[in-house]
């Protein structure tokens, strides 16, 4: 239910048993079934979700009702609409489950309480946000300056086993390509 959460936490910041209990008291455990929403555009994002098991995606919908995938959240990842979570403004992303999933949620209230009472949680948060910033910079650089083949290889390096779990059209959506273009890239790379 929370083993992976604490495993990942301890990789970033080592906790004592007591500190672990203190954090545990603040966590919310939530099961989602495939296709169920964690967050819908327009609602305020009230929690950060750690994926203990399963897979989620965050996506936005444009004016032509096309979906653009911003991020996948697989086991060990954290997923949220950080903008909405931090500002309290309505979310611009939707987050839903691609598989039956088990999540560890940290609500805004719990997050703020832990930030104030526990320096190690503050460190954990800083490392998480830094990681998210670096990931975003990588993604931006890749979109702006890399060839399509490089972009696909970057993507596979980031999400190694995702092709087996997520339909091709979603990967195409994440990369901002049509499914046809993506399949051409895949063919080209496999021939190399």
């Amino acid at each position: 239910m929370y083993d992976l959460f604490f495993q990942k936490f301890n990789e970033k910041v080592q906790l004592t048993g007591e500190e672990q209990v203190q954090i545990l008291d603040h966590l919310t455990f939530k099961k989602l079934r495939k296709k169920q929403y964690l967050l819908q555009e327009g609602d305020v994002c009230k929690a950060i979700a750690f994926v203990e098991k399963g897979a989620l995606r965050a996506y936005s919908v444009d004016e032509n009702s096309a979906e653009h995938i911003i991020q996948f959240g697989l086991e060990g990842w954290t997923i949220a609409d950080l903008y909405s979570f931090l500002t309290g403004e309505p979310a611009t992303y939707n987050i839903d489950a691609l598989e039956d999933s088990e999540l560890v949620l940290i609500s805004k209230t719990a997050h703020e309480e832990l930030l104030q009472t526990m320096p190690k949680y503050e460190t954990y948060t800083r490392l998480n946000i830094t990681g998210a910033y670096l990931a975003m910079q990588r993604r931006l650089t890749s979109i702006i300056g890399s060839s399509l083949d490089e972009r696909y290889q970057d993507f596979i390096a980031l999400y190694p086993h995702i092709a087996q779990r997520v339909p091709q059209h979603m990967i195409a959506s994440y990369m901002g390509l049509t499914p046809e273009t993506l399949s051409r890239i895949r063919r080209r790379i496999s021939k190399k």
Binding site: D25, K30, Y37
Partner: protein, 218 residues
């Protein structure tokens, strides 16, 4: 966004009345009880009356509570402890609604000590949950008829967490009652005794188990 509510003890009088009533709102209901057949029958009945209702029967209290955003413990006070032990972990940080009355079997007194209430005892058992008292001053039949003699029955809500009180007040409104936030969780002592009085008067004056509280005010 649609909230998921687990109703534990959904085949009982109060549990099934609550389930039927809340199925009219934008909620996803997970009904659970020890006897899956009984609770499946409640779910089937709801779907027969309202095919659009988002309701499902489950036999696992823990799984239902794990999926839920809000948990309603629709069980008698005597069963609350056992339920609490089972759901303690998955109920962490979630709203848990205590509807129990601490009345004894002959309806003439309380089963808890005078300086506590069923809701406070549940909060003690679930220290990391947001326990809210609600629906304890309403009879099961009131859910089908929340307006009695032309007046909408009041339903009192008590608890510590402001946001949770608002969420539960909305739930009370969906069920057809007039929600009144009565105060913090210790007000449950008064609310639970109000129900003992209502039960005693119902027996004495034969209200036929369709009665409720209404505060008249300017």
């Amino acid at each position: 966004m649609t909230q998921t509510i687990a109703i534990i003890g959904a085949s009982g009088n109060m549990g099934s009345a609550l389930a039927k009533s809340l199925s009219k709102g934008d909620y996803r209901l997970l009904l659970c009880a020890n006897n899956l057949d009984k609770v499946q029958a409640v779910a089937d009945e709801i779907k027969r009356d309202n095919p659009a209702a988002n309701v499902e029967a489950l036999d696992c209290t823990v799984d239902a509570s794990w999926e839920a955003d809000i948990i309603i413990a629709a069980v008698p006070y005597a069963a609350e402890k056992e339920v609490a032990e089972r759901i303690r972990q998955v109920a962490n940080q979630k709203i848990v609604i205590s509807i129990a009355n601490l009345v004894n079997e002959s309806f003439d007194g309380a089963v808890t000590a005078p300086n506590t209430s069923a809701a406070e005892e549940l909060q003690r058992l679930l220290p990391n949950s947001k326990v809210i008292k609600a629906f304890n001053t309403t009879f099961a039949a009131d859910f089908a008829t929340p307006v009695i003699d032309g007046k909408q029955v009041d339903a009192f809500v008590a608890g510590q967490d402001e946001e949770a009180l608002q969420t539960v007040s909305e739930l009370v409104r969906v069920a057809g009652f007039n929600p009144i936030v009565a105060g913090d969780l210790s007000v449950s002592r008064t609310l639970e005794h109000m129900q003992i009085l209502l039960m005693q008067l119902t027996l004495k004056y034969n209200y036929n188990w369709l009665a409720g509280w209404k505060i008249l005010h300017q």
